[in-house]
């Protein structure tokens, strides 16, 4: 009962400040530019290989690659940073604005509060996922159709991929809550999110792909697991090709595991501290 109340309260917290729609707007804009832009560029480059080569542009797309899944999954392969941020802010904001005091006065059982945040951010992450995929599919399909490519929207596989992408975005929301509970300093948490997702992990994934041993470890990196769950991505084409990624359900379990373990450890440490 109190968990349901806590979830309802956490939803109100998310939607009574401006952060959620600012991040949603940025996410949609980012995905719109990349999915629409790459859709148009790749469509043009594949249709005009000579012109593309003349401009020095190398599409990097192996022949026979289906463009549609690649472009649609921009929603999660670049957008996953947004649910992580929102999830982390839901926790670190309570420390930063010192609202843990009224929060714990209304619900003194701290694990219920954290559980409420976790569930809430899974749902909010899924919501961001729906917005991101609506954007990537909308703009990507328009661009592909303009160059007479198959949009794949009549295939069940495409919709299954979109569904797994929304699930991945939800799980990233949970990972954000775990990160916030582990690193309650808001600035530090944001720096970690940006640095890890934009620099550290892409480099690690590229480096890991050079040998079979490291590749088998690298596929457990959260971004790699996320791509495995969704099923296709820009990164998996960029990496040197050894197709050693996890099965989609394994990728999902890795993400869920990271989210749960981080939240439980954070809940047993920083979340239990004195609120002064």
């Amino acid at each position: 009962m109190s968990l349901l109340r806590s979830i309802a309260s956490e939803f109100q917290k998310v939607f009574t400040t401006r952060m959620w729609w600012l991040l949603a707007l940025l996410l949609v804009g980012y995905v719109l530019v990349l999915a629409g832009g790459f859709g148009a560029f790749l469509g043009w480059a594949v249709r005009n290989p000579d012109a593309a080569a003349a401009t020095g542009g190398n599409t990097g797309v192996p022949p026979g690659t289906e463009l549609a899944p690649l472009i649609y999954t921009f929603a999660s392969s670049i957008g996953y940073v947004f649910p992580v941020l929102l999830g982390a802010l839901a926790v670190t904001g309570e420390f930063r604005h010192r609202t843990l005091t009224p929060t714990f006065l209304a619900e003194p059982h701290r694990s219920i509060v954290l559980g409420g945040k976790f569930v809430t951010q899974l749902v909010v992450g899924a919501g961001l996922g729906v917005a991101a995929f609506a954007t990537s599919v909308g703009s990507g399909a328009a661009a592909l159709a303009a160059f007479d490519f198959d949009t794949g929207l009549d295939q069940g596989d495409t919709w299954a991929l979109i569904g797994r992408g929304v699930l991945a975005m939800a799980l990233w929301g949970g990972i954000g809550v775990g990160l916030g509970a582990l690193v309650p300093n808001q600035v530090a948490a944001i720096v970690i999110v940006i640095a890890f997702t934009q620099f550290v992990e892409p480099i690690l994934r590229l480096a890991a792909s050079f040998s079979d041993v490291t590749a088998s470890i690298g596929r457990f990196l959260p971004g790699a697991a996320s791509d495995a769950l969704v099923g296709a991505s820009f990164y998996s084409i960029m990496s040197t090709g050894s197709s050693s990624s996890l099965d989609w359900w394994q990728g999902g379990l890795v993400l869920l595991g990271i989210a749960v373990v981080a939240t439980v450890i954070g809940g047993a440490t920083t979340w239990r501290r004195d609120v002064t």
């Binding site: 917290k13 006065l105 004195d274």
Partner: protein
């Protein structure tokens, strides 16, 4: 309204690393009375209150509401109303701030509007709290204490930052709560700030209990000081010299230390001096408070 239940602090100790913030503190706060929780800054008042409310873990001892720790209260906001240092998300409106916690505690949303009106900020309720003045934030803190209509109130420095009108309002407010049989604990670092509204006092210094009792028992301990004046000050000073009373000259007349108005009046009567003023100095209470608190430093 839930009935008032006593606040019981028993052998409470809290250490932050090497610092002992609260040291074997015991006292009880009774329902139906306003109790002032007094001590200088850093005496351990806020730490004691945060332990009582389950926000800080005690090193030893207990702090309960009639034997039940805050954490185990089945409906905490309907049992205890708390205003600690005002903390809000600056981007959220007052109405949403209250709604978020009413939801968490399972209280009806209609209660939000009621308490906003009770503390007089209903017309600003849809503005973001970031733009609020200190006084408005204090009122919003009080609205949060009222939302569950509890029987116990724990207020940390609620008078800080209020304008004179607000101070008058909160004094009446506290007295009204106590008259309804509720338990009211109000902390302050200034006795003068709360002496017009409290019935009992608990005084601590350096984390230790200095005194706990009624306000009038503290008054009795205060060394008397009397102010006396006459149209003929020269004659008055002769009469005081005659009676062997030490005095200093102040703006409103002579200040006689260590003696109450009876002794001074008798000296004037014997000297045949007409008096224009003769009363006990109010500041005696504050001084006895400072003496008590200062004694704790040794």
């Amino acid at each position: 309204m839930a009935g008032g239940i006593p606040i019981m602090i028993e052998g409470l100790t809290k250490q932050f690393g090497p610092v002992t913030a609260v040291d074997d503190l015991s006292f009880t706060v009774e329902p139906g009375r306003v109790t002032g929780f007094l001590g200088p800054n850093g005496a351990g008042k806020t730490t004691t209150l945060r332990v009582l409310l389950g926000l800080v873990r005690a090193t030893a001892g207990t702090a309960t509401f009639g034997g039940t720790p805050y954490h185990d209260l089945p409906r905490p906001l309907e049992t205890v109303g708390t205003a600690l240092e005002a903390t809000f998300h600056p981007g959220r409106t007052a109405r949403h701030h209250l709604k978020v916690y009413a939801t968490a505690a399972g209280l009806p949303a209609a209660r939000v509007q009621q308490v906003l009106e009770m503390v007089g900020i209903a017309e600003f309720a849809d503005r973001r709290v970031g733009g609020y003045s200190l006084g408005m934030r204090q009122r919003l803190s009080l609205a949060y204490t009222l939302i569950g209509d509890p029987g116990v109130f724990v207020l940390d420095e609620p008078i800080n930052g209020l304008d004179p009108e607000g101070i008058k309002w909160i004094r009446g407010f506290l007295q009204a709560l106590a008259r309804e049989g509720r338990t009211v604990l109000v902390s302050s670092h200034l006795l003068s700030e709360v002496q017009q509204s409290v019935d009992d006092v608990v005084i601590i210094s350096k984390g230790r209990l200095i005194k706990s009792g009624t306000l009038s028992s503290l008054e009795l301990e205060a060394a008397p000081r009397t102010i006396v004046d006459s149209p003929d000050r020269e004659k008055l000073s002769e009469a005081l010299d005659e009676a062997g009373l030490a005095y200093t000259e102040g703006r409103g007349g002579f200040i006689v230390d260590e003696h109450d108005p009876g002794v001074v009046g008798r000296a004037a009567f014997l000297g045949g001096v007409e008096l224009s003023a003769l009363h006990r100095l109010k500041s005696g209470l504050e001084e006895s408070f400072l003496t008590l608190v200062g004694g704790g430093e040794e």
